[in-house]
């Protein structure tokens, strides 16, 4: 009663307090919205943090009945740990190729006028959507058979690189376009070769973009199932994405213990890669230095 009585009494004091209240309320609402969004994004991920440590994991998120049994099961699985190493080899290989070739190509395309450049970029971007689909499975398989790259991790890396390069060049060219030309001009005056200019002038400026593309390529290669599944034959070369699908019983029931522990182990490397890159180089999909 007193509280409700007090509030009308406060109003006559003038607009500033009501403004303060309004501002306070909107600030609270603002943080409530942020909190809700945070819950929305975190909720599905809680399972992967809790279930691996549960003695008998179920699908529900609950405080674990603590046990490391799932990890020891994972440790004894003949393919689980090796598949993480394989995924690392394949993803780092893909990342390196995408980064090196993407940087060279995007820089050149950004600086030199080539007739039909934009059309070419768009055409490649569109074609990459076909190749990532299931329908291209047969051509890719037959092509790789003919060049003897079946059951080879190099083959997987090359196919993935081919698929990722157009989008990488597309995004990187934006960064290259945004780097100022004046530095390059002065470097040229001092007699630097174009490759030196790229290495010492352009790349440092476009570094956040390169770092971002590196993570992007890594994440894409890390999660790709279809390409390694079709191209590899030996189980000891399978990356994690393929092995993850074998943790089911004959009847298609997920082995929750293995899946939860493996999901955690499978997720950690990309998260670390992101954290390292974002801390050291920044993580931006666009916007180098505006001139």
């Amino acid at each position: 009663m007193t509280a409700t009585a007090a509030r009308p009494a406060a109003v006559p004091l003038g607009p500033p307090p009501s403004m303060v209240v309004k501002k306070f309320v909107s600030r609270v609402l603002f943080y409530v919205v942020i909190a809700l969004l945070l819950v929305f994004f975190m909720l599905p991920m809680l399972w992967i943090v809790l279930a691996p440590f549960d003695a008998s994991p179920s699908l529900t998120i609950k405080l674990p009945d603590f046990s490391t049994g799932n990890f020891s099961e994972l440790w004894h699985n003949p393919y689980a740990l090796r598949s993480l190493l394989n995924a690392l080899i394949i993803s780092l290989g893909t990342m390196a190729l995408v980064l090196v070739f993407g940087a060279l190509a995007s820089y050149a395309l950004s600086r030199v006028r080539v007739p039909g450049r934009d059309a070419l970029l768009y055409a490649l971007l569109l074609l990459s959507s076909i190749v990532s689909g299931t329908a291209a499975m047969v051509p890719i398989f037959l092509l790789m058979t003919n060049v003897h790259l079946i059951d080879s991790q190099l083959g997987v890396v090359l196919v993935m690189t081919g698929g990722l390069l157009p989008a990488a060049i597309f995004i990187l060219k934006d960064f290259m376009d945004a780097t100022p030309r004046s530095y390059e001009e002065s470097a040229k005056v001092f007699g630097a070769s174009p490759l030196q200019i790229l290495r010492h002038v352009v790349i440092p400026i476009a570094r956040p973009g390169l770092a971002t593309i590196a993570v992007w390529a890594l994440v894409n290669a890390w999660g790709n199932f279809l390409v390694p599944f079709i191209l590899l034959r030996s189980a000891d070369k399978y990356p994690a994405a393929v092995v993850m699908y074998t943790f089911y019983t004959e009847g298609g029931q997920p082995k929750l213990g293995l899946i939860s522990a493996f999901s955690l182990m499978y997720s950690i490397p990309v998260v670390i890669a992101y954290l390292v890159v974002s801390r050291r180089y920044g993580f931006r999909f666009h916007g180098g230095i505006k001139s």
Binding site: T60, L104, V159, P194, F225, M244, Y266
Partner: protein
């Protein structure tokens, strides 16, 4: 100055050397992307199958696959669902939520910003198979977390609301890209212009329309193009619903998968891929037209 976006060969690269820089990428892309893609388009003109007589001796059938597609109730259903999916999860979901997050993160402490951005990015970083399993677990009918939270035991979200489920799923998964792109773009809006708009008495919406939007318009378009294309070709909802129930969430990549792997109709699947490519092309052309009008205006 808008002229900076135009190519100027400041480093003295020259055509020949530029060609050398582009060549390795072009060779890789040509061999491992363009060649299989063209081959796929060719397969779309045949009745090729994974097994059976048509696997031994595929025949050219011309445009028959395309005629079949246009008369196929499941294809038309799938096309419609894909448009809803792209509009719902990419254009509305990811763009709006991504912008809202980027906007809000300008106004919070760096520590809060760091946490929020990392969590949103995690959704994007985690491998697809893991993420789809997490969502499947959350939406599960029997002991999913969502039912426990909302006290709706036994409610089958993936059956009752398959499209809504995959749209929310993809919004969750892909918002990070839009958020990052927009927060970079927003940093490029000159604070002085915002300040003068505020002085002139413009409210939030007016500030956005008159000051912010003109600056980020290009980013909005680039973002929309990329995420539309990615969403259009996104296979991950298949891991959640397998296109079901009864084709109710069978977006085109799932449709192709069910035909190419499920029943082995590789020729038909390849033809649908080409149809998808054409639709992607239309999206890209639309984007280019919008981008061009922007350039003419500025």
């Amino acid at each position: 100055m808008p002229r900076t976006a135009v190519a100027t060969d400041a480093a003295g690269l020259g055509r020949a050397r530029a060609g050398g820089f582009v060549a390795p990428a072009l060779v890789l892309v040509g061999l491992f992307l363009v060649f299989p893609a063209l081959w796929t388009i060719y397969l779309g003109l045949t009745d090729y199958r994974l097994t059976g007589l048509a696997a031994a001796a595929p025949k050219m059938v011309g445009l028959q696959n395309f005629r079949d597609a246009l008369a196929d109730r499941f294809f038309l259903n799938s096309l419609w669902l894909t448009l809803i999916y792209v509009a719902g999860s990419a254009i509305i979901g990811q763009t709006v939520l991504g912008f809202a997050l980027a906007w809000m993160m300008q106004k919070v402490r760096p520590s809060v910003r760091g946490v929020v951005e990392t969590v949103v990015l995690l959704a994007w970083l985690l491998p697809g198979s893991v993420v789809s399993f997490l969502w499947w677990a959350m939406l599960n009918r029997r002991d999913g977390t969502l039912n426990a939270l909302l006290d709706t035991p036994g409610y089958n979200w993936l059956i009752q609301h398959p499209m809504l489920s995959i749209i929310v799923f993809n919004t969750w998964r892909g918002t990070a890209f839009s958020m990052m792109l927009f927060s970079a773009a927003l940093q490029a809006v000159p604070p002085s212009q915002l300040e003068s708009a505020r002085m002139a008495g413009a409210n939030g919406a007016q500030q956005f329309r008159d000051v912010v939007f003109p600056h980020i318009r290009g980013h909005v378009l680039t973002n929309t193009l990329l995420i539309s294309l990615w969403t259009f070709n996104d296979f991950s909802p298949y891991l959640l619903t397998a296109g079901g129930p009864n084709h109710k969430s069978e977006i085109l990549p799932a449709f192709i998968y069910n035909r190419a792997i499920g029943t082995g109709e590789l020729g038909y699947g390849a033809a649908i891929s080409l149809i998808m490519l054409v639709i992607n092309l239309i999206i890209a052309l639309l984007y280019l037209t919008l981008l061009r009008t922007r350039k003419v205006k500025t």
